[in-house]
C-alpha cells in the first residue's frame, strides 16, 4: 500500500522548506533559546556565589524549566498566528474556492492545515533540542523527560493551532482572525479560573469540583507538567499543602489529584477540546452549512 500524505501538508511543507523565512525563523528561535540559556546560567552562577555552601551543580537542574518555559511561550504565541491566517489567508488569496471544489472534505482541509502547522513548529522544537540537551547534560535530568516534553509541546501546538483555525474559519480577514484567536486563547487561560475563584469567595472557601474546569487550561497543564518533572509531585497534591484541597473537595477532584492522574486527564481534555474546535471550524467552512455562503475576497480586475 502506498502511503498518502494529506495534500495540504505536503504542499505546505514544500513551500515552507523552500522559503527563506524558515531559516531566519530558526535562527531567531535558536537565538532566543541561547539567550535564555546563558541568562539562566549567569543568574544561577550569581546566586550560588553568594551562598557559602555554593554548589552550582545542584542548581543547574533549573536550566531545563527555563528553556522549556521559553519554548512553551514561543510556541503558544507563534502557533495561533500560523493557523489563524491559514483559512482566511486562502480566502484572501482566492485559492480557497478551488480547494473546496476538490474532493478534500472540510475536515481534512482543517486537519491538513493544523497538522502542517504542528509539523512546522516541530522543526523549531527539533532545532531547539541541542540546547535543551545541554541543559539535561549539565542539569542531570533523565532523558525520558525530553520525550515527555516533546509530547507536551505537540499537545500545546495542536491546541493553540485549533484555536487559530477556528478563528480563521469565522473571520474573513487574517488579521482579525489572529486578534480573535489571542482573545479566545487568553479567555481560556484566565476564565477557567473564574468558577474556582467564585467558589472560594462566595462558597465555603473550598474550590471543590469547580476546579475541574482547570483540566481544560493548558497553562495549568504545563504548571503541573513541570511540577511533576522537577519534583515528581502534583501541584494539587496534599504534600503541597494546597489550599484547594481539604477533605471535602469532592471525590472526583480528590482522585484526580493523586499522582500523575491530573496531568493525563488534563491532556485528554485539552486534546478533546482541540478536536471540538477543529470540527467546528470544518463545519463553518463547509459551504453547505453556512447560510449565505462565504463571499470570496474580490480583487479588482486589472
Amino acid at each position: 500500500m502506498r502511503i498518502r500524505l494529506n495534500p495540504i501538508v505536503k504542499k505546505e511543507l514544500q513551500v515552507t522548506v523552500r522559503s527563506m523565512r524558515l531559516s531566519w525563523g530558526l535562527f531567531a528561535y535558536e537565538g532566543v533559546l541561547t539567550m535564555a540559556f546563558l541568562l539562566a546560567l549567569a543568574v544561577i552562577q550569581e546566586t550560588t556565589s553568594y551562598m557559602s555552601s555554593g554548589n552550582i551543580y545542584s542548581y543547574l537542574i533549573y536550566l531545563f524549566p527555563v528553556l522549556a518555559v521559553a519554548q512553551v511561550c514561543i510556541v503558544a504565541l507563534i502557533m495561533p498566528i500560523i493557523t489563524a491566517s491559514s483559512i482566511s489567508g486562502e480566502n484572501e488569496r482566492q485559492t480557497f474556492d478551488i480547494m473546496l471544489t476538490t474532493c478534500m472534505s472540510p475536515l481534512s482541509i482543517v486537519f491538513g492545515k493544523v497538522s502542517s502547522a504542528v509539523l512546522r513548529i516541530l522543526f523549531f522544537v527539533a532545532a531547539g533540542t541541542p540546547i535543551m540537551a545541554l541543559s539535561f547534560v549539565v542539569g542531570g535530568l533523565s532523558w525520558s523527560y525530553l520525550f515527555y516534553f516533546l509530547l507536551a509541546i505537540i499537545l500545546l501546538s495542536v491546541f493553540s493551532g485549533s484555536v487559530g483555525i477556528l478563528c480563521s474559519s469565522f473571520c474573513k480577514r487574517s488579521i482579525s482572525a489572529v486578534i480573535l484567536s489571542f482573545v479566545i486563547y487568553f479567555c481560556i487561560y484566565i476564565l477557567t479560573f473564574l468558577p474556582m475563584i467564585f467558589r472560594a469567595i462566595f462558597g465555603n472557601g473550598n474550590a471543590g469540583e469547580s476546579m475541574l474546569v482547570l483540566l481544560f487550561n493548558p497553562g495549568v497543564f504545563f504548571e503541573e507538567f513541570f511540577m511533576q518533572i522537577m519534583t515528581g509531585r502534583s501541584i494539587f497534591g496534599p504534600e503541597q499543602g494546597s489550599a484547594f484541597l481539604s477533605d471535602d473537595v469532592g471525590i472526583v477532584t480528590y482522585l484526580l489529584a493523586r499522582g500523575k492522574v491530573w496531568m493525563f486527564v488534563s491532556a485528554g481534555c485539552i486534546l478533546a477540546l482541540s478536536f471540538l474546535f477543529m470540527a467546528l471550524a470544518a463545519w463553518k467552512v463547509n459551504p453547505m452549512h453556512s447560510g449565505a455562503g462565504r463571499k470570496p475576497g474580490r480583487k479588482k480586475v486589472e
Binding site: R2, R4, L5, P7, I8, K10, K11, Q14, V15, R18, S19, R93, Q94, T95, D97, I98, M99, L100, T101, T102, C103, M104, S105, N286, P287, M288, H289, S290, G291, A292, G293, P296, R298, K299, V301, E302
Partner: protein, 308 residues
C-alpha cells in the same frame, strides 16, 4: 448532462437567482450570458457546491448525488472568475497538489500533467513558479488543473476577463479544442459576441432570470423585427435602389454612397432569392452581409436598457 430545476438563491430580501430552470445537453459548449450582477456567478457557485441554494435542485448526468457531495465534485471541473495561486510552488507541484486532492497518486498525476500542460500550451513552464506566470498562463494552468480528474463538465466563469486580446484568442482556441474532444463546457461572460462565435448554445440571464435559452440558430430565428443587411455595390446606385424598393419584404434604411443598409423580414431562402434577383438585374455586388450585431441587439432588448 446538467439539469437545473427551479433554482433560487436569496440574499436576505434580494433574489440573486430567480426560479432558474435549464438543461445543458452532453457535448454542448454552452454560453451563459448576462450583464454584470445578473446572477451567473451565483448560479455557477451553487452548481459547484460552493454556495447553498435557497431552493431548487441541480443534477448532473444520471447520478442522484447531492450538490457538494464528493461524487458530484468529481464530475465538475471549475475555473472561477477570480482565483489566486500560491507563492513558492512550481507548476508541476501545483498540479500534483490538486491531483492528490482528488485522491490521485503522484505518479499518475505526473503523467497526466505532461499531457494537460501540452494541451494548454504550457509544457515549457513545468518547472516555473506559478506566481511568475502571466495572467493568461495562470488561467490556462487553472483550466489544466480543472481537467486533472477528467470531469464530465467543465465550468468557466468569465474566463477572458482581464486577459489581453492575444490571451483571449488562445483561451478561445483551447476551449474549442476541448469541445471538439467531447467535453461539455459551460462558459459565462457578460460579452455576447465573445461567446456567439464559439458556443453551440447560449442562455441569456438578466436580474436572476433566464430570459432566453437554446441553440444559437434557434435564438437567431427568434429575433424579432427585420434583419439588417449591408449591401455594397460597384455599379450605379440608382437602379439598384429602385429595384430594392420594389421588393415587398425589404425596407431600405439608409444609403451612403455605394453602401445600402436594408432590413429583410423574409426567411433565409427569400434572402438567397434576393441575392439572385439583384445579380440578375445587372447590379454588381461587392458585399452582402448580415449585420453581426443582430444577436447583440436581441441581448440588449432582452436585458433591458440598463444592460451595460
Amino acid at each position: 448532462m446538467l439539469y437545473i430545476r427551479d433554482l433560487t438563491k436569496n440574499y436576505g430580501s434580494f433574489t440573486a437567482v430567480d426560479h432558474l430552470s435549464l438543461h445543458i445537453p452532453k457535448g454542448d459548449l454552452f454560453g451563459f450570458v448576462g450583464p454584470n450582477g445578473a446572477g451567473k456567478t451565483t448560479t455557477i457557485r451553487i452548481v459547484c457546491g460552493l454556495l447553498k441554494a435557497s431552493s431548487g435542485s441541480v443534477q448532473i448526468g444520471s447520478t442522484a448525488a447531492a450538490v457538494g457531495s464528493s461524487e458530484m465534485k468529481r464530475l465538475i471541473g471549475y475555473v472561477p472568475d477570480f482565483f489566486g495561486v500560491y507563492d513558492n510552488l512550481k507548476v508541476r507541484e501545483y498540479m500534483d497538489m490538486y491531483g492528490s486532492m482528488y485522491g490521485m497518486y503522484s505518479r499518475d498525476i505526473a503523467k497526466l500533467t505532461d499531457d494537460l500542460l501540452e494541451l494548454v500550451n504550457l509544457s515549457d513552464k513545468k518547472e516555473f513558479y506559478v506566481d511568475t506566470l502571466s495572467r493568461g498562463m495562470k488561467q490556462r494552468l487553472c483550466v489544466a488543473r480543472a481537467l486533472l480528474h477528467n470531469p464530465q463538465l467543465l465550468i468557466l466563469d468569465e474566463p477572458s476577463s482581464g486577459l489581453d486580446p492575444r490571451a483571449r484568442v488562445e483561451m478561445k482556441e483551447l476551449l474549442k479544442n476541448l469541445h471538439s474532444m467531447g467535453k461539455t463546457i459551460v462558459i459565462s461572460s457578460h460579452i455576447l459576441s465573445e461567446l456567439s462565435e464559439m458556443c453551440t448554445s447560449i442562455g441569456i440571464m438578466n436580474r436572476g432570470r433566464l430570459v432566453a435559452a437554446g441553440r444559437i440558430e434557434d435564438i437567431m430565428r427568434q429575433i424579432s423585427g427585420g434583419r439588417r443587411i449591408h449591401i455594397r455595390i460597384a455599379s450605379e446606385v440608382e437602379p439598384a435602389l429602385r429595384m430594392l424598393k420594389e421588393q415587398t419584404d425589404v425596407t431600405v434604411e439608409s444609403v451612403r454612397e455605394k453602401e445600402l443598409i436594408i432590413t429583410h423580414r423574409g426567411t433565409e431562402e427569400e434572402v438567397c432569392a434576393l441575392i439572385g434577383h439583384i445579380i440578375h438585374n445587372q447590379v454588381i455586388l461587392t458585399d452582402f452581409y448580415r449585420e453581426a450585431g443582430s444577436l447583440e441587439s436581441l441581448f440588449m432588448q432582452l436585458t433591458g436598457g440598463g444592460a451595460s
